[in-house]
């Protein structure tokens, strides 16, 4: 039991992202309203962004801007240990843009669907589809 707790605590960022991901997946599968499904999809994407951001973290490190790079106290040896890894964060800028674009396309489709069927509840839409 203590093993399990220490495992969860030591790698809590992974547990959080998995939990978020499953919440998103649950919403996509179980919810009946199309907008709720779309929100679930967005949570799913955000979970992965969180995962990437969390892997760039280092204990006791600072933001990746060179300290003492200029001026009288300048010393030019850069210790990578002193700085967090910025690359995953930069990658996630792109992923956030992709996520926003996906959300936009999904909502635009939801509007089209609403115009066609006058509802966003999936069971009602499917009933209408079956009637035709």
């Amino acid at each position: 039991m203590t093993d399990l707790i220490s495992m969860v605590v030591a790698k809590y960022n992974y547990w959080i992202y998995i939990t978020l991901m499953m919440i998103g997946l649950y919403a996509m599968i179980a919810k009946n309203n199309l907008v709720k499904k779309i929100v679930g999809m967005n949570i799913f994407q955000t979970a992965i962004i969180l995962f990437y951001v969390s892997i760039g973290v280092k204990k006791g490190a600072t933001i990746p801007i060179l300290e003492h790079g200029h001026g009288p106290n300048a010393h030019h040896v850069v210790h990578a240990v002193d700085y967090i890894n910025p690359l995953p964060h930069v990658l996630m800028l792109t992923a956030i843009v992709v996520g926003v674009a996906t959300l936009g396309v999904a909502l635009a489709l939801a509007i089209r669907i609403y115009n066609n069927y006058n509802t966003l509840e999936e069971d009602e839409i499917l009933a209408q589809v079956r009637e035709k």
Partner: protein, 496 residues
């Protein structure tokens, strides 16, 4: 000039998307010529690249002059050297053929349509050419998002079908991204060649295993591999014909390319077939994919939907072939990427012509079609024979390699599935031929006309269709050359 082909391939359609969207505001008639010009440049560059690869071997192109581990590099080897011309030429032919359909189906939206079209081709070409795993994700999403836009321009049910595709596509792409994240944690690199160099000591690591499985599931979702195929048939059926004949031949095939790239370049066959040892299970999944695709296609009374289930079955061919783990199977899978793109394009262009003239694609609409549209149906016969696998069309040769690979790997289930699906394809297509040939033509209201008057699709639609149909036979006749000069170099040394 030829040094810049890898960049031109992607940059020209990307920038032209901007120009086309502006032209859509100014004068709609400019959109089509600009799109054709841009995709012609892509097609020219991709063919040029193929010849350069044949002469010089692997090409490394550093974007902006940044060296590989830091910057993004494009690697063009024999595998994507072969796939690039297929993608760009299929897109160009379909673009030319779709002009009349687009004018008929949504005359006021030609600008947005062509913008999405060239952007989608940008994404697909980028996926194939890039050597950076994260860059691949971004281009994958470019191709997917534009694809959703294109597919949603269709019948009343198109938006709902597309939204279902969007959920599945997003999960697939996210899984791929997550897998790449794990690879980044263990190797600290995103460059495919660099990852492959750093991975071998870590093959026993659980993180690498997780990365591989997550990436594979993501890619399978995107290519509609059997248990994950549910989004494909509706999304492709209800879309407008110009979009479905772009997306059906290309998206699944490009994703198969990504899978083979993951297996051969990033993870190397040693990991996939020796360390992991799940290939038997995957081949059995492919067997189920082929069988279910064939059976579900048999159930449909609607030409376009029937063809979409054939696409699902064909994905099973390629995945199974790649996972057989021998030279013949992999040759068959790579060859089938080329052949299936052309075959699928051929039959979907036929559907486009039929929709243009008849305004329907249910079996009831096809009555007397051989008399009404003899040239279109002639090309359909060639496409159908190729999907069935009748020599000398190209479908026969890739199926031959796949069956050969199945026998060498003692995967008799896969062999039986291939033969079973060929037999079902015979039934499927001869049923269509019978309706088209023997049943008298009737219009939508059911009034029968005797004799049927010929009303063929315009020449701009027939010429691309016949280029594809003839290429099916030519590719079939030159299969030996393609295998000897290109495909055999795709397969890494030491692979049985």
């Amino acid at each position: 000039m030829s040094e810049q082909y890898p960049a031109l391939l992607v940059i020209v359609p990307l920038l032209s998307a901007l120009v086309v969207s502006v032209a859509g505001w100014v004068n709609k008639r400019w959109c089509f010529p600009i799109a054709v010009a841009a995709l012609s440049v892509s097609a020219w560059s991709s063919v040029g690249l193929l010849f350069r690869v044949l002469n010089e071997g692997v090409i490394v192109y550093k974007l902006g002059g940044w060296s590989p581990p830091m910057g993004i590099a494009y690697y063009i080897d024999y595998l994507n050297g072969l796939v690039l011309p297929v993608v760009s030429i299929v897109a160009l032919l379909n673009l030319i053929s779709s002009k009349r359909t687009v004018e008929q189906q949504f005359p006021d939206k030609t600008g947005p349509f062509y913008t999405l079209y060239v952007l989608m081709v940008t994404g697909l070409l980028g996926i194939v050419v890039t050597g950076d795993a994260f860059n691949l994700y971004v281009l994958l999403e470019i191709a997917s998002l534009t694809g959703y836009g294109l597919l949603a321009m269709g019948e009343e049910r198109a938006p709902l079908a597309t939204l279902n595709y969007l959920y599945m596509g997003t999960i697939g792409a996210c899984f791929y991204l997550l897998g790449i994240g794990y690879l980044y944690i263990v190797t600290g690199s995103l460059n495919m060649v660099d990852i492959a160099r750093l991975l071998p000591p870590l093959y026993q690591s659980k993180a690498v295993l997780a990365a591989f499985i997550i990436c594979m599931v993501g890619v399978w979702l995107k290519m509609a591999f059997f248990p994950l195929h549910a989004w494909l048939p509706n999304a492709y059926t209800f879309a407008n014909s110009a979009s479905s004949s772009l997306i059906a031949p290309l998206v699944t095939k490009v994703m198969v390319y990504v899978m083979i790239r993951l297996m051969l370049t990033i993870f190397t066959p040693k990991f996939v077939f020796n360390t992991l040892a799940v290939h038997d299970a995957v081949v059995w999944l492919a067997v189920i994919a082929i069988a279910m695709g064939a059976v579900l296609a048999l159930k449909e009374r609607n030409l376009k939907k029937m063809l979409t289930y054939i696409v699902v079955a064909e994905v099973g061919y390629m995945v199974g072939g790649a996972w057989l783990g021998n030279r013949a199977g992999l040759t068959g899978a790579v060859l089938h990427i080329v052949n299936d793109a052309l075959m699928t394009l051929c039959v979907f262009l036929v559907v486009g012509n039929i929709v243009y003239k008849i305004k329907g694609y249910a079996f009831g609409d096809l009555k007397g079609l051989f008399a009404k549209m003899p040239f279109t149906m002639g090309a359909f016969v060639i496409g159908a024979l190729s999907i069935i696998g009748v020599p000398p069309t190209c479908g026969f040769f890739s199926k031959w390699y796949l069956i050969l690979g199945a026998i060498q790997a003692h995967q008799y289930g896969f062999m039986v599935a291939l033969l079973f699906s060929s037999l079902i394809n015979v039934v499927l297509f001869f049923r269509v031929f019978e309706i088209g040939f023997y049943e008298p033509f009737s219009d939508h209201e059911g009034h029968e006309h005797h004799p049927a008057v010929m009303a063929e699709a315009p020449l701009t639609m027939l010429v691309p269709l016949y280029v594809v149909a003839i290429s099916l036979i030519l590719v079939g006749l030159y299969t030996g050359d393609i295998v000897n000069h290109i495909v055999q170099f795709v397969i890494p040394k030491g692979f049985m």
